[in-house]
């Protein structure tokens, strides 16, 4: 029994230690860095300087709000687009199910950055698609690139497979006999869908929403390539402060506040959704 327990530790420790050193310790050090004062020229020193946190909320509240707003809209659109897609593949995919799933994942096989550049190609001012939209009078001002809509559309597209997969996985596990039973009891297909299928796929919806929302809040690629100066998200600010301006304490505090805000939002969401979808063993259904 003791030997068995030791085997367990021998198996889990290498990975766990790696994650502790390169994830947990960095989180702690970033928090310490955020309380430093000084500059690159004079050097930084730890001083319990909470001013960075004050500035995080006063100087960058617009970017924070924008990030959460864009991510929320993109998550809702992604759900609306992904649900019927996942449903169609799960219930009508037949023998093409695996192939269709592979096609949903295909965008992940091209570099994220290049996918976004492809949207820049599709949406740039000279593109036929934008001319068509202009001629139809569907866009005002004649441009798509550099607008809020373009950034949200880019985020939606880039994280869409993250929504499709968990929803598909939970639809797959639904016992079809429940749906048949509902129809035997004279439920219309519509009623059976809303009363049986949708509630049973709730864990997938919750997991998919989080897997879309969380990376979307921190994203800066879409704002960088598809947005204008008024679309800068908090990710753009953090990246600029870390890598260009080298104001490490300020950047660290913003990154830390971002993590804290996401944790709060996700906790509230999970409370409201009343789900165990993102804890422990339930995640196995995403694999």
């Amino acid at each position: 029994m003791i030997r068995r327990r030791l085997t367990g530790y021998a198996l889990v420790l290498p990975g766990a230690v790696w994650l502790a050193i390169f994830f947990v310790v960095p989180m702690y050090l970033m928090w310490r860095l955020s309380l430093n004062s000084g500059s690159v020229e004079t050097g930084f020193h730890f001083s319990w300087d909470w001013a960075n946190y004050h500035e995080a909320f006063t100087l960058y509240d617009t970017q924070f709000f924008r990030s959460f707003y864009y991510a929320a809209i993109a998550t809702l659109i992604a759900l609306a687009v992904a649900y019927p897609l996942a449903y169609g593949i799960a219930f009508h995919g037949g023998r093409f199910k695996h192939l269709l799933l592979l096609l949903v994942l295909a965008p992940f096989l091209t570099t994220y950055l290049i996918r976004t550049l492809a949207w820049e190609t599709i949406l740039n001012d000279q593109s036929p698609a934008v001319h068509l939209l202009n001629d139809l009078g569907l866009i005002s001002g004649g441009r798509v690139l550099g607008t809020t809509g373009a950034v949200i559309a880019g985020i939606t597209y880039n994280f869409l497979p993250f929504m499709v997969l968990p929803v598909f996985a939970s639809l797959e596990t639904i016992d079809r006999r429940y749906v048949e039973a509902a129809q035997d009891l004279y439920a219309s297909p519509r009623t059976a869908f809303w009363r049986i299928v949708v509630p049973l796929s709730a864990p997938g919806i919750v997991a998919g929403s989080l897997l879309t929302f969380i990376p979307a809040v921190g994203d800066y690629i879409n704002a960088n390539f598809l947005g204008g100066p008024n679309n800068r998200m908090i990710g753009n600010v953090v990246q600029g402060l870390y890598l260009t301006e080298r104001n490490y304490p300020m950047a660290a505090s913003l990154s830390f506040v971002l993590m804290a805000l996401i944790t709060v939002v996700v906790t509230i969401y999970l409370r409201l959704a009343g789900s165990r979808a993102l804890t422990g063993d339930d995640l196995s259904e995403l694999g």
């Binding site: 085997t7 367990g8 530790y9 021998a10 198996l11 889990v12 790696w18 994650l19 390169f22 994830f23 960095p26 050090l29 970033m30 310490r32 860095l33 019927p84 897609l85 219930f91 009508h92 995919g93 037949g94 695996h98 192939l99 592979l102 949903v104 295909a106 992940f108 096989l109 091209t110 570099t111 950055l113 290049i114 996918r115 492809a118 190609t121 599709i122 000279q126 593109s127 497979p161 969380i214 809040v217 921190g218 994203d219 800066y220 690629i221 990710g235 953090v238 990246q239 870390y242 490490y248 660290a252 990154s255 830390f256 993590m259 996401i262 993102l278 995640l283 196995s284 995403l286 694999g287």
Partner: protein, 294 residues
């Protein structure tokens, strides 16, 4: 599939109706299939653009508008030294980190599914946290760590980072396989006198081999695609996505699209082969009735 059969049997029994009504009925029956087709076309549209523009003859420095057909970039795919170096870095990094992360992640998955030990919940949390944190937080925290500890940024820090964020994905893929197969097979081997190592080698390992392969593939693709964490921790070393980001500010060579197309085709081929292989394997298993769960 069973619902399709039911519809096919039902259809002739319906009373004859006019053409518009029939068209409406057809649309109602096939609407979801049409939608799936459109949604997948939308998902694939940028990929088509990437491939198309690998044959472009751009008029300016930016490969954003169509200037005419040319296979020039394909014929000189590796003629840009910086780009080729970045590609080689990416492939080396992906190979190293996917194998290391899968070894570490498989160990964690085995321990979490098959063993009870103190700290199991913490280990579970460690697996999930990096995956559920925004990449920018993961990347900036690691940069803070390297800045404070004074580790020089470069290929080595990229490798440490890529292994870290891949472990969780590997662990989850292997774990989902471990929980789904019949544990009595392992017990039977033990009953027949096999030691833990022999049982693992002869029973467990062959059964989870497809998942291990899947985990390596997934981690490889994730590493190859990573931009954000690499952006923070690369120093002056360039990977393919980092090269593209740098180039996007001064003009992107068409070769970027050529290499993106090659990577896409290569990984898609591996993915397709895996789907075919798993289908054959499942059929063989169903035939042998080795596994009660399909």
């Amino acid at each position: 599939m069973s619902s399709d059969a039911a519809i096919a049997v039902e259809a002739p029994a319906r009373p004859q109706v006019g053409a518009p009504a029939r068209a409406l009925a057809w649309l109602r029956r096939n609407g979801i299939r049409i939608y799936v087709g459109c949604a997948i076309a939308y998902l694939l549209l940028p990929i088509a653009v990437i491939i198309l523009f690998s044959f472009n003859e751009p008029t300016g420095r930016y490969n954003l508008t169509w200037g005419g057909f040319s296979a020039d970039a394909w014929l000189h795919a590796f003629s840009i030294t910086g780009l080729t170096e970045a590609l080689v870095n990416s492939l080396k990094l992906a190979a190293l980190s996917s194998i290391a992360a899968t070894v570490l992640g498989t160990g964690m998955a085995l321990a979490l599914v098959r063993h009870r030990f103190f700290g199991r919940r913490v280990a579970n949390l460690l697996v999930i946290l990096p995956m559920t944190s925004p990449e920018i937080v993961v990347g900036s925290a690691l940069l803070s760590f390297f800045l404070i500890t004074g580790v020089a940024l470069g290929f080595q820090t990229l490798a440490l980072a890529h292994i870290m964020f891949s472990i969780g994905f590997a662990a989850i893929v292997v774990r989902s396989r471990l929980v789904s197969f019949d544990r009595s097979l392992e017990d039977a081997a033990a009953d027949l006198g096999a030691g833990p190592l022999t049982t693992f080698r002869l029973i467990t390992l062959p059964l989870i081999a497809p998942a291990i392969g899947g985990a390596i593939f997934l981690c490889f693709v994730i590493s190859l695609d990573d931009f954000v964490v690499s952006n923070f921790n690369s120093g002056t070393t360039l990977t393919f996505p980092l090269y593209v980001f740098g180039a996007s500010q001064r003009g992107i060579p068409v070769q970027v699209n050529v290499i993106a197309t090659m990577l896409f085709a290569g990984t898609l081929l591996v993915g397709l082969l895996a789907v075919l292989f798993s289908r054959r394997r499942r059929r063989a298993q169903e035939g042998a009735e080795l596994e009660p769960r399909a």
